[in-house]
């Protein structure tokens, strides 16, 4: 057995750099996530975060997306203040993340792929299954676009009874990432 150990070390030594090289990553710090109630209310519940970070591992299709909750900007500054202080509690839960895998991802091919993974917001983790995402492969860039629906009550957000009618039950979340190749 002892004589095999140097041989094993050599094999591992060669395979680790090869593996790292194969793990080609694409990334962005300027991704956009918007959420919108899509209701015709007097003051629309709509916000955008345009400094979303994301890293995509091309080989396995694994993706990690992070948005800082304080980065969501509303048209109405009072609504933004309430969102941060009362609902999202952004001092306690400063970030929202998606981590998971894009199945049938292919670096050679632009197509609709399915994302499955975990979304974390307000300290609650929610499993997302087979969310369709449009994946566009361009020169050294990958565009990812998609939209899905979330139910507000899934995220342990306490809504006072007096404003309950004004807070939508469902929220449409859209994601728009323009990832560029990481230059090693």
């Amino acid at each position: 057995m002892k004589q095999f150990i140097p041989f094993l070390l050599i094999v591992i030594g060669f395979s680790v750099p090869l593996n790292l090289q194969a793990q080609q990553q694409y990334l962005t710090r300027n991704g956009i996530i918007t959420f919108d109630s899509k209701l015709n209310s007097f003051v629309p519940v709509k916000a955008e975060n345009s400094s979303v970070s994301a890293i995509l591992n091309v080989d396995g299709g694994e993706i990690a997306v992070l948005a800082l909750v304080k980065g969501f900007s509303f048209k109405n500054s009072l609504m933004e203040e309430h969102f941060n202080e009362s609902y999202a509690e952004s001092d306690i839960h400063p970030k929202t993340t998606f981590t998971g895998k894009i199945s049938n991802f292919d670096i050679q091919d632009s197509k609709t792929c399915l994302f499955s993974g975990v979304l974390s917001f307000h300290g609650v983790e929610k499993q997302l299954n087979e969310i369709p995402l449009i994946v566009e492969i361009k020169n050294n860039r990958i565009g990812i676009n998609g939209e899905f629906q979330l139910v507000v009550s899934d995220f342990d957000i306490k809504v006072p009874r007096i404003v309950r009618s004004k807070i939508p039950e469902k929220i449409y979340v859209s994601i728009n990432l323009d990832l560029e190749k990481l230059n090693n």
């Binding site: 710090r29 300027n30 400094s51 990690a64 800082l68 900007s73």
Partner: protein, 121 residues
């Protein structure tokens, strides 16, 4: 008749006060920090300190280490996203900018400032 006029005036005064207090965009005060001071303040495990950072505008000074289309990285650690494009800034410049601190990005291990604009030296 006088009661009606008094009521209208009272309503106008109350609604103007409410509007001024709650709906006008209030200009947040700003605190001046270097990159190291910002990181130090954030690293102190104290929620009120962290919210103090995000409630105020940050007047940040430091050296530009990366220039992107609508963002700069200052002192390798502070990612500053600009409202508009950036011109006449190059790597190595010492800069002062005003922005809104939104938190720490664990994915890139950077501190993020939004809505930045360059302040004249």
């Amino acid at each position: 008749m006088r009661k009606v006029v008094a009521l209208i005036i009272a309503f106008a005064v109350v609604s103007t006060t409410v509007y001024v207090c709650f709906f006008l965009d209030r200009v947040a005060p700003s605190i001046e920090l270097s990159s190291a001071e910002l990181i130090y303040k954030f690293s102190m495990d104290n929620t009120s300190n962290k919210s103090n950072l995000s409630e105020n505008n940050i007047l940040l000074s430091g050296a530009v280490t990366t220039v992107k289309k609508s963002a700069l990285i200052v002192d390798k650690k502070i990612f500053c996203k600009f409202k508009n494009g950036i011109s006449d800034v190059k790597v190595g410049d010492t800069i002062r900018l005003l922005g809104k601190f939104i938190g720490y990005d664990e994915l890139f291990q950077e501190y993020k400032l939004n809505d930045c604009s360059i302040v004249n030296q």
